[in-house]
């Protein structure tokens, strides 16, 4: 049924339809509305049987999810930013143990400086944690991906992270098509754990493994994740059959046929990019975009196949590998190894910096002329940067960087319009 609702609410309702038995979470912006809504549903009995466990931290949230999942319960949690970092040790444990937990990450930057707005630093910091990572472009896709995530997680016995842009999606009211409980039940079978803590059939989970078998256990984790590359398109196809729409999959291309320039991006910025591409196509530019839905495992073959006909590839990412450049772009580059084409990395939208159509028009045109630097920071205020660099040259005690820059711009209240 079509309805106009908040992204967080839509996701909460989709998660509830997946019949989780244990939800544990610690609130952090911009994830809060999701777990608040689920908490209410558990309390008023509309989500039952399910236990909502309030915990004292994100580390506890993931630890409880691990315990619940090991005991055979379908388990869900959600977090963002520093919360994800705080649970990091348990995040690795969940995947290492092969527990099919589903977690929403309402993508937000990582401090310092503290910042509550959107980028992809949080989720990408856990790219090697062994979790599958899916990125939603719209609220419709966010809710659809959650339903697919439980299926995928339980089928492979691996945890899945569904990433949606904080505020931009979580707090946006837009039209979504809510599935029925019957559709979700038809898609998502009852959870049959591969391993379970059961007093009548005792096992231990989480043995210490020495050099004799550690590499093999780790290799199996990799091999298992790689299976997702084959299973995900199947699950997406089955999803289309039951729900009647395309959602999920490995990647999405838009107007890449005959494109000389292909942009690569993840998440909600794809919408803005598509608008720009339509306008540029109308003006005769051969440009398209490749959206990455599945970031882990990274669909190397699919990305290569989608990009190999282009003359140049521009990876626009809301993340950054300090001291290297891009994270997504490093992955994309691996998919293109051996191919001769121009490749550009563009870091954009960090900490909620708006990514505007106007800036993208300028950027894409520069790329078409191969006038871009290999690494570009979109809409970076060089005056601000240079002023601080001069300050550091002139004074030993140049002071805290963040405070200096805020003073320079004379910020009264944060704004992004």
């Amino acid at each position: 049924m079509l309805k106009q609702t908040e992204g967080s609410r839509a996701v909460a309702e989709a998660v509830a339809m997946c019949r989780p038995e244990v939800i544990c979470a610690y609130p952090i912006s911009p994830q809060t509305h999701i777990v608040e809504a689920l908490g209410e549903m558990v309390k008023d009995g509309s989500l039952s049987p399910c236990e909502f466990i309030n915990v004292e931290s994100e580390f506890a949230a993931m630890s409880v999810a691990i315990g619940a999942s090991a005991a055979g319960a379908r388990s869900y949690t959600a977090t963002a930013s520093q919360g994800l970092l705080f649970m990091a040790e348990a995040v690795y444990n969940a995947s290492g143990l092969g527990l099919p937990i589903v977690m929403t990450v309402a993508n937000r930057s990582i401090g310092a400086p503290i910042n509550i707005w959107n980028d992809h630093s949080d989720a990408l910091s856990q790219r090697d944690s062994g979790w599958l990572q899916l990125f939603a472009e719209t609220n419709q896709e966010a809710l659809d991906l959650h339903i697919q995530a439980f299926r995928l997680a339980e089928e492979l016995s691996l945890p899945v992270m569904v990433c949606m842009d904080g505020f931009i999606l979580t707090h946006a009211y837009e039209r979504v098509d809510m599935p029925t409980q019957a559709q979700v039940d038809a898609y998502l079978p009852k959870y049959e754990p591969r391993q379970v803590l059961d007093p009548s059939e005792p096992v231990s989970i989480g043995a210490m493994v020495g050099p004799e078998a550690f590499m093999e256990v780790r290799y199996l984790a990799h091999a298992k994740q790689m299976q997702a590359l084959e299973r995900i398109p199947e699950f997406a196809a089955e999803f289309r059959q039951i729900f009647g729409r395309d959602s999920g999959g490995l990647t999405h291309t838009y107007r890449t046929e005959d494109a000389e320039t292909i942009i690569v991006a993840m998440g909600s910025v794809l919408g803005t990019i598509k608008d720009v591409i339509d306008e540029m196509r109308e003006a005769g530019h051969k440009i398209g975009v490749l959206g990455i839905t599945l970031f882990r495992p990274f669909p190397l073959a699919r990305v290569r196949e989608s990009l190999q006909g282009a003359k140049r590839v521009v990876v626009l990412e809301k993340s950054m590998a300090v001291g290297l450049g891009g994270i997504l772009s490093t992955n994309v580059r691996m998919a293109l190894s051996g191919l001769h084409m121009h490749g550009y990395t563009v870091i954009a939208g960090l900490g909620g910096r708006a990514i505007t159509k106007k800036s993208l028009h300028g950027l894409f045109r520069e790329a078409e002329q191969d006038a871009l630097e290999p690494l570009t920071f979109l809409d970076l205020d060089w005056n601000m940067v240079n002023k601080q660099l001069e300050r550091e040259k002139a004074h030993r005690r140049s002071g805290p960087v963040a405070e200096n820059l805020l003073r320079d711009v004379g910020v009264v209240a944060a704004r992004n319009y």
């Binding site: 309805k3 106009q4 509550i116 039209r175 803005t272 608008d275 990514i355 209240a413 944060a414 319009y417």
Partner: protein, 198 residues
């Protein structure tokens, strides 16, 4: 596409107003996207929220920098925030105040604009009268339905009914209706003056 930017202060229901606009547009079968520009939210701090309305799917995710209409829930923001940033000439402005544009010091700015698109409504007073709480957001939506003409008053009223219940809903509906009438009267007056000049 029609783009609305709402300015107010934390606690005035700025975000709720944008969300309700989107619900009203959805009820008319249109596509709509409402979203906030969150700062570190606190009571009294300047807050901005946005709403886009279109007849096709809205993919754009940038903040609204060139709005077609601006709703100002708190006139004291005029001295603190560049509320009119990006508004094209002949855009729509609706301000919560019992003063006129001249009295607010905006006379020069709007001298040769279309005056029937520039309206004020004492939304705070209407809210106190009908709802008993100083929350101007919902009556302003009634006024917006009148001035911008992109949404029907009845859709706004339906959205109010979906968001609130009981006395709060009834009070807000009454306030929105009165605001609608006030703004309609202002627009008629502005058109009448214009005809006189012509």
């Amino acid at each position: 596409m029609f783009q609305v930017r709402i300015h107010g202060r934390g606690g005035q229901g700025v975000v709720t107003a944008a969300e309700m606009l989107s619900v009203a547009a959805f009820d008319e079968g249109r596509h709509a996207q409402a979203f906030p520009s969150f700062g570190s939210e606190r009571m009294g701090a300047p807050v901005v929220a946005f709403c886009r309305i279109d007849d096709k799917e809205i993919r754009l995710r940038e903040p609204i920098m060139e709005p077609d209409a601006i709703i100002i829930q708190d006139p004291t923001l005029l001295h603190q925030v560049d509320v009119f940033a990006g508004l094209r000439k002949d855009g729509y402005i609706l301000i919560n105040t019992s003063k006129t544009f001249d009295q607010l010091g905006l006379g020069d700015m709007i001298r040769d604009w279309r005056h029937e698109r520039l309206c004020t409504v004492p939304a705070m007073e209407l809210a106190l009268k009908h709802v008993g709480r100083p929350v101007p957001n919902v009556p302003l939506l009634g006024g917006f339905a009148a001035v911008a003409g992109v949404l029907q008053l009845e859709s706004v009223i339906k959205a109010i009914g979906e968001r609130f219940s009981g006395k709060v809903a009834a009070g807000n509906i009454a306030a929105a209706r009165e605001a609608y009438e006030i703004v309609r009267a202002e627009m008629d007056e502005a058109r009448r003056k214009e005809t006189e000049h012509a």
